[in-house]
């Protein structure tokens, strides 16, 4: 590390500290931005100091990263990680900036940033879980992200990748590096009508496997999820989690396979994942002013909302939906119509957030009665139920967890 690099890190840390004490944020993003401004090639100098694992996906990257970190820590290994979700280049620089003890680094990486950091960080392991439409005004179309990922795999045929075989975009992009496949089973199909290899219509089975005339098909997987059990040959590892939802079982499967790749026993990794109760504010339970518990969930796109709405059907709690349309949420709220809000019919529902009206119109046409209250905390207070589930878009989620904790 050069003297200038050291100075850049010190200046960045100071900016991060200032951001935290003034309550503007967690500090990692601004801290890394200052570091990169002063020393643009700082990322390259971090390559040799840690053995780096990168986790990327449209949905679940923060949780998968957290579960993998828990597994490594359970095995007694020190870990450096960007646990607050600062997953752009700046956040990664801030996370890896020395000094810290020799350790494993597990980093969640924004899906657009992945191809930019694999080389400078000399990543040892990459975990690729899923790709679906998200913030189309900013991220562009899913296919172009899959193309970017595939270029990484093509440029690094020896890179160790763990990939979800059940997602055609992931399977197509990871294939050139001969990855370790994990078959997670049926999931969101809204963005995979056509074959990523040849653009014909993909043929889907009821069990969630796909094939195309051109020969592209679900790869044969070494690891497979059967219900809540991760099956590898004769070994069966139960994934019984404290955090809710089917989607987290999928995240845990990816994390446990990654942990075994890093030398952690699968059973130990699964037990460590089971003990995780909250992930950077997600699934944390807060007390409302009236004493009722409120659980806060993050949902960002139709695939994520679809999972959360299915999970909500398993309880009869009051539901607050809080939507913003800032840059980090996606400025276009059209996606509200691609998520199955009809599943909330007959429930106690509040439409909230800065775009509460867009949501209320969506719910109205979906046959869901709702009350309109832009402030999600006020909405939680006035909605009925012994408990309240608050589902929020990204900027609503970060603001809410700060207010409630």
């Amino acid at each position: 590390m050069s003297a200038r690099g050291g100075l850049a890190i010190a200046a960045g840390r100071a900016a991060g500290w200032a951001s935290r004490v003034t309550g503007r944020g967690a500090g990692a993003q601004i801290s890394g931005r200052v570091m990169l401004r002063l020393q643009p090639d700082l990322l390259d100098s971090m390559a040799t100091e840690d053995a780096i694992t990168l986790v990327s996906a449209t949905n679940g990257k923060t949780t998968t990263t957290r579960l993998l970190v828990a597994a490594l820590e359970a095995a007694g290994r020190p870990v450096v990680t960007n646990g607050t979700g600062a997953n752009l280049a700046a956040g990664i620089v801030a996370t890896l900036a020395p000094p810290h003890p020799p350790s494993d680094a597990v980093l969640e990486v924004d899906e657009r940033v992945l191809s930019l950091v694999v080389d400078p960080l000399d990543a040892r392991l990459v975990v690729l879980a899923n790709l679906s439409r998200d913030q189309l005004d900013r991220y562009g179309e899913v296919r172009s992200l899959a193309d970017q990922w595939r270029e990484v795999a093509e440029a690094h045929p020896d890179l160790k990748i763990i990939a979800n075989a059940s997602d055609p975009h992931v399977a197509w992009s990871a294939a050139p590096a001969s990855p370790t496949w994990v078959e997670l089973g049926a999931g969101w199909r809204g963005d995979v009508a056509t074959c990523p290899a040849c653009d014909r219509l993909l043929d889907w089975s009821d069990t969630g496997s796909y094939r195309c005339e051109c020969g592209f098909a679900t790869p044969a997987a070494e690891h497979r999820l059967e219900g809540d059990t991760l099956v590898t040959g004769n070994r069966r590892v139960p994934l019984e989690l404290a955090i809710p939802g089917r989607w987290n079982v999928l995240n845990a499967a990816m994390a446990v396979v990654a942990a075994t790749e890093l030398g952690v026993d699968a059973q130990l990794a699964a037990r460590a994942a089971a003990d995780v109760t909250t992930v950077s504010g997600r699934y944390a339970t807060y007390r409302l002013a009236d004493g009722r518990p409120a659980t806060v969930l993050l949902a960002k796109n139709p695939a994520g909302w679809s999972e959360v709405l299915a999970w909500l059907e398993g309880n009869d709690h009051g539901v607050v939906l809080a939507i913003n349309a800032h840059v980090a949420d996606g400025r276009d709220t059209s996606w509200l119509w691609d998520a199955p809000f009809e599943r909330l019919r007959g429930r106690r529902v509040a439409a909230s957030g800065e775009r509460a009206l867009d949501l209320a119109v969506r719910l109205d046409y979906g046959g869901v009665d709702c009350v309109l209250e832009p402030d999600p905390v006020a909405a939680a207070a006035l909605i009925g139920g012994d408990e309240v589930n608050v589902v929020a878009s990204y900027t609503q989620f970060t603001a809410l967890t700060r207010r409630l904790s």
Binding site: R133, L136, D137, E141, V142, R143, G190, D191, A193, T194, D199, R200, L201, A325, H326, V327, A328, D329, R331, D332, T333, S334, W335, L336, W337, D338, L357, D358, A360, V361, R362, D364, Y365, G366, Y394, T395, T398
Partner: protein, 260 residues
């Protein structure tokens, strides 16, 4: 005197064309809104999904074409070409076409991709689209042609198309804010029982008068029974105010929205 719509022989059938290929931008909402606005008036209606794996039937009252990814658009164009005669029969029988974004491009004569590949469109209306940079992304306001009697149309666009209308072909309206067709300061197209636009949002939930004008075309009525649209009207006021904000208010809003 208007005909009593409840005497229709069968339910009004709203066809969602290739939701698997042209369903990326929430445009399914347009179909939901048309069906629901019929039901609220006591007019039987049903949403019929028309998957890309089957030929398009000629038996629907409204055909909705939505937005999709570039790769899907190529396949959609190929499959549609095989169903062109079916659509012609439906239109001759009085069916209405409403097309958005990629779907709007596909009902024209041709679409030239950014890479120079030329796709044949359905040719329902004389217009041609060329893909170009930059992508047009953001909130849009369109002032419809006065003859339509429609109020300002609000929506969100995200596309790379530049669409030129043929001689004598009129747009849906004049663009007040945003890009629209990207040519001549207009958005969309307006023809006999055919409306096209670049606007998502989706556009019909945000613009109930436009939705009702499509239903009126099918039902052959001048005016439909009014519905309680107070919630949508509140949303429209909010969106119009947000998009037309000027000066310090616009700058503050921009700063605010770009946070995070």
């Amino acid at each position: 005197m208007t005909t009593d719509t409840r005497t229709r022989q069968s339910a009004l059938r709203v066809g969602l064309v290739y939701p698997d290929l042209l369903g990326t931008y929430g445009d399914r909402g347009n179909a939901v809104v048309l069906v629901e606005r019929c039901r609220r008036r006591g007019i039987p209606a049903e949403l019929v999904e028309l998957p890309a794996s089957s030929p398009l039937p000629d038996s629907l009252d409204i055909y909705l074409f939505g937005g999709g990814e570039d790769s899907s658009q190529v396949l959609a164009a190929q499959n549609m070409a095989a169903s062109a005669s079916s659509l012609d029969r439906a239109r001759a029988g009085g069916a209405v076409v409403f097309a958005v974004c990629a779907g709007f491009q596909l009902i024209g004569a041709s679409y030239e991709t950014g890479e120079g590949e030329i796709l044949d469109g359905l040719g329902l209306v004389d217009m041609a689209t060329v893909g170009a940079s930059p992508r047009l992304i953001g909130e849009v306001l369109v002032e419809p042609e006065p003859a339509t009697g429609l109020p300002t149309v609000t929506g969100f666009e995200n596309h790379a198309g530049r669409t030129t209308l043929g001689p004598g072909i009129g747009p849906l309206g004049r663009v007040v804010q945003g890009g629209g067709n990207g040519v001549d300061g207009v958005d969309g197209v307006l023809a006999e029982r055919l409306v096209g636009t670049y606007l998502h949002g989706p556009v019909l939930p945000r613009n109930p008068a436009l939705a009702d004008s499509l239903l009126a075309m099918v039902l052959g009525e001048e005016e439909l029974q009014p519905l309680d649209d107070s919630l949508v009207e509140a949303l429209r006021r909010e969106r119009l105010a947000a998009v037309t904000a000027t000066g310090w208010r616009a700058r503050r809003q921009e700063l605010h929205l770009n946070r995070g």
